[in-house]
Subunit: 270 residues, 2 copies
């Protein structure tokens, strides 16, 4: 990623990921959105449902990133302790947030249900946090500006997380995001082993520090090798980013062609 990138960290809270029952699709969705906004995602960390372990990773994230997004652990059960962890990491108190309480109260009272201790718990946010409305489920999110670092906590249910990120978080992140456009160009090279391409990949990457170049082996190294070459570039405009990314891909492609390689699918996205 380009050196001007602003760092973001994604923290996924939940034992269900750590025992391998659930694949962490929330993190890849968020990583893709943050990347397209121009942030560098420097870590994705899955943490157990444990206040101290959450606080530890939030503390590290806040010290190093401008944007920290957590998912999971906002619900009504005893092991939903994400905001307790966030509060502990930042030395803030966890208190009832008036707006969050209104959201939770409205959610349940529409069905004639009362507030209980477990429902009120979902309205407890770190001191100074803003409540993020949840148009899909019960638990509000939390957005906290901590000395210029935004700490955003969203539920783990994908439909809730995505809706809240898109409607409420993304507009806020655009204010922080570097003013860049991201374009990715790719080509599929057939018939040349990855180890034979390695020298040109190194050279092409070295000549263009602001382009992130990577090869992905898609077949067997020797029996019918297929290598996907991908270059991600950021710039002030789509055209500029595209030219940067394409020039790097083309350097690898022409080297491969000289060595008998064929080129399959190629193109750019972003």
């Amino acid at each position: 990623m380009p050196p001007e990138a602003v760092d973001s960290w994604i923290l996924t809270i939940g034992n269900e990921i750590l025992i391998g029952r659930i694949v962490n699709t929330n993190a890849s969705w968020l990583a893709s959105r943050l990347t397209l906004l121009g942030f560098r995602v420097a870590r994705i960390i899955t943490v157990p449902d444990d206040v101290d372990e959450i606080a530890e990773e939030v503390g590290r994230a806040v010290a190093r990133a401008r944007v920290v997004v957590t998912t999971g652990g906002l619900g009504p059960t005893y092991d939903d302790v994400t905001l307790e962890g966030v509060s502990k990491a930042l030395g803030r108190r966890l208190t009832i947030n008036k707006h969050a309480l209104d959201m939770v109260r409205r959610f349940y009272s529409d069905k004639g249900l009362k507030l209980t201790e477990e429902r009120i718990k979902m309205a407890m946010l770190p001191d100074g946090a803003e409540a993020i409305p949840n148009p899909v489920g019960a638990a509000p999110g939390s957005l906290l500006d901590y000395g210029g670092t935004l700490i955003i906590s969203l539920p783990g249910v994908p439909a809730e997380m995505k809706e809240m990120f898109t409607s409420h978080v993304e507009p806020r992140l655009r204010e922080l995001a570097p003013n860049v456009v991201i374009v990715e160009c790719y080509a599929r090279i057939i018939g040349v082993p990855e180890s034979s391409l390695a020298p040109v990949v190194k050279r092409a990457a070295g000549s263009r520090k602001e382009v992130y170049l990577k090869t992905h082996p898609k077949g067997h190294e020797l029996e019918g090798p297929v290598i996907e070459v991908r270059a991600l570039a950021s710039a002030g405009s789509i055209e500029e980013a595209r030219v940067k990314a394409l020039s790097v891909v083309e350097e690898v492609v022409s080297y491969a062609r000289e060595r008998g390689g064929k080129v399959g699918e190629e193109g750019c996205t972003g």
Copy 2:
């Protein structure tokens, strides 16, 4: 997870995960296997292809876990730097491993290809590491016993990673693993909001510290709520683990039934 559990950390190396292009299915596969072997997976961390960032997370992992598994970054290209990061974290030199070099040489010479700088690079392991044969691709893995902590580095290509883990790593981990069996029991509760179940979930979890109990909302909190209750227990035998897990699930189920809940699918696995 039970207190007797032995900690393991999973480190996924690769920018392609951090930009959201690839979902981290390697980590969930490994997490599931490590859990079934009796380990507690305490972290899953995705790290960029950067020597210092890899070294930082390997250093933390080694200080706290008995088993550290890394995937990705073992290939021939300039950004495959996992073992450089591992070596740096442990203060070991990265040197050509004789067995690894034999593996790499054989892999290429079968097709009449010579060793090049990039191919030899795949045979460089931290001093003292064992080479893990790769029956699917070119890059050998690395297994290092560092004062009783095993650091295992596998390729990122899923077919290679899984084959190497199953054939070579799992037998070694069984020697380290606590001698326990893991059973998970579950029930699907229909018609009771998660927030209404929260008190019994807290009580049931508190009464059985060695069982890991969790509820997963699968529907809307109020409009047709569906809650999956899952209890994971470890014990010396399948029967014992099953009894522990079932008793906790049943406590939640009977509470839900008293409140008009219906029970859908239920059972145990493991």
